[in-house]
């Protein structure tokens, strides 16, 4: 049973609820109408249920399309197998390493998708579980810390940035802590500049931390091409401080994020 047979009036159209909700899902309504629908969805449980059902109908169409696609590929494979069995086997044998095969499958699966709106993988989603604010665990007494270090150790990120900007001489640690402070304010673009500058220091101080947080900043800002080699480096170095944070599956998913 439809929720209501009454048409719902909008500025320019008379729509039934179903039609209205379909247009809402397809983003075909103008902004005031979108807002009006959202308000109704908050107030009317029955409308929300209808919306969920319509979403499901769209999903069903997508799955049906996927099923038909797989079926047609399989039919084509069988046709070719009959023609030339050897060439089919050759394709599989060329991929000798399982890991390569697995990565290739996953990449191809998502890269080949037409409707990207269904891909929930995003760089931000991958970033969130990896990011944790760096904590300064100094063995030095509080009075021996520089003002910037002191502010940072107290998690006073605003003051850390202020001190950096108001002083002229900066150490590698200053750059690093200020970068982290920007990340705490969700400003990864700013943070990138500080991490990059600190990495130029030949002493290698905070190198592992800088690489990890720079990679995360790239990830946050969706600069996947720059993030990837850094994460791969961390993953391939068992002695890297953040080696355990970057596993094979993470790297695969990184390849699946839409560029």
């Amino acid at each position: 049973m439809p929720i209501t047979s009454k048409p719902y009036y909008t500025m320019n159209n008379d729509f039934t609820n179903t039609e209205l909700l379909n247009r809402y899902l397809d983003k075909e309504l103008d902004e005031p109408d979108m807002e009006q629908v959202e308000k109704r969805l908050r107030d009317e449980t029955s409308l929300k249920i209808e919306l969920e059902r319509l979403k499901l109908a769209r999903e069903a169409v997508r799955l049906y399309g996927l099923k038909e696609k797989v079926r047609s590929i399989r039919a084509d494979m069988k046709k070719n197998e009959q023609k030339n069995v050897k060439s089919q086997k050759g394709i599989v044998r060329n991929l000798t390493r399982w890991s390569m095969r697995v990565a290739a499958i996953l990449i191809l699966l998502v890269a080949g998708m037409g409707a990207y709106e269904y891909i929930p993988l995003s760089s931000k989603k991958m970033y969130d579980p990896l990011y944790a604010p760096y904590e300064l665990r100094s063995t030095r007494a509080q009075e021996n810390l520089s003002p910037l270090e002191s502010a940072f150790s107290k998690k006073d990120y605003a003051n850390t940035i202020t001190i950096f900007l108001s002083t002229k001489q900066h150490s590698t640690a200053d750059y690093f802590f200020t970068g982290i402070s920007y990340m705490e304010f969700n400003e990864p673009r700013e943070a990138i500049q500080y991490f990059q500058a600190a990495l130029k220091d030949s002493s290698g101080l905070y190198k592992d931390e800088l690489e990890y947080y720079l990679a995360l900043s790239y990830l946050y800002t969706h600069r996947i091409k720059e993030a990837k080699p850094l994460f791969e480096k961390i993953h391939s170095d068992p002695n890297h401080l953040f080696h355990d944070k970057v596993n094979n599956w993470f790297l695969m998913k990184l390849s699946l994020v839409r560029k």
Partner: protein
């Protein structure tokens, strides 16, 4: 997509097909189950629900086994066999368990799409599966203008919604499917 599906078949079909064949299934059953495995797997990857905690091989094996056992149960074969396999149907992956819980409903949903007319199928698949724009669909289907296609699409969605609502079996399973989709 083509290459990935071919690779999945090339890499895993023989291995997984044997399981079905060794558990009362025919060649055709092995084909059907594997096709469902592939569709479910692609769907899970694209939804980011395949977390990679298990290897693809392990995951596909669990999907394949559980789909086949679920199918056997559905077919209501010999009670003894059902009892025998019932205890095996524990899943080690939440993604697989989730899928199996909503499997019947999903199958019913697929059948409903099959009951739509061919024109509606074409339009809805072009828009919601292939992600084509109204302009591209217009070029393919030769309608008068984009608005006509858009209106047709809405009518088709309305029809689909009515079919879903009028299917009593599906209505019973909607909750499970909605839970799966979230």
């Amino acid at each position: 997509m083509d290459a990935a599906v071919r690779m999945l078949y090339g890499s895993y079909f023989d291995f997984l097909g044997i399981y079905v064949q060794q558990h009362s299934g025919s060649d055709a059953d092995a084909e059907d189950v594997f096709q469902e495995v592939i569709v479910a797997f692609i769907d899970l990857v694209q939804r980011d629900k395949f977390r990679g905690e298990s290897s693809i091989k392990t995951f596909l094996f669990a999907l394949n086994r559980n789909i086949w056992l679920n199918e056997l149960k559905k077919r209501k074969r010999a009670a003894a066999r059902e009892t025998k396999y019932e205890h095996e149907q524990s899943t080690e992956d939440p993604g697989v368990e989730h899928y199996i819980g909503a499997r019947e409903g999903r199958q019913q949903l697929m059948e409903v799409i099959g009951r739509l007319g061919s024109v509606c199928q074409q339009i809805l698949l072009a828009y919601y599966y292939e992600g084509l724009s109204m302009k591209q669909i217009l070029e393919q289907l030769k309608y008068e203008n984009e608005q006509v296609v858009r209106n047709k699409k809405h009518k088709c969605m309305k029809k689909l919604d009515e079919l879903i609502q009028s299917d009593a079996l599906l209505a019973n399973n909607l909750k499970a499917i909605l839970h799966y989709e979230q």
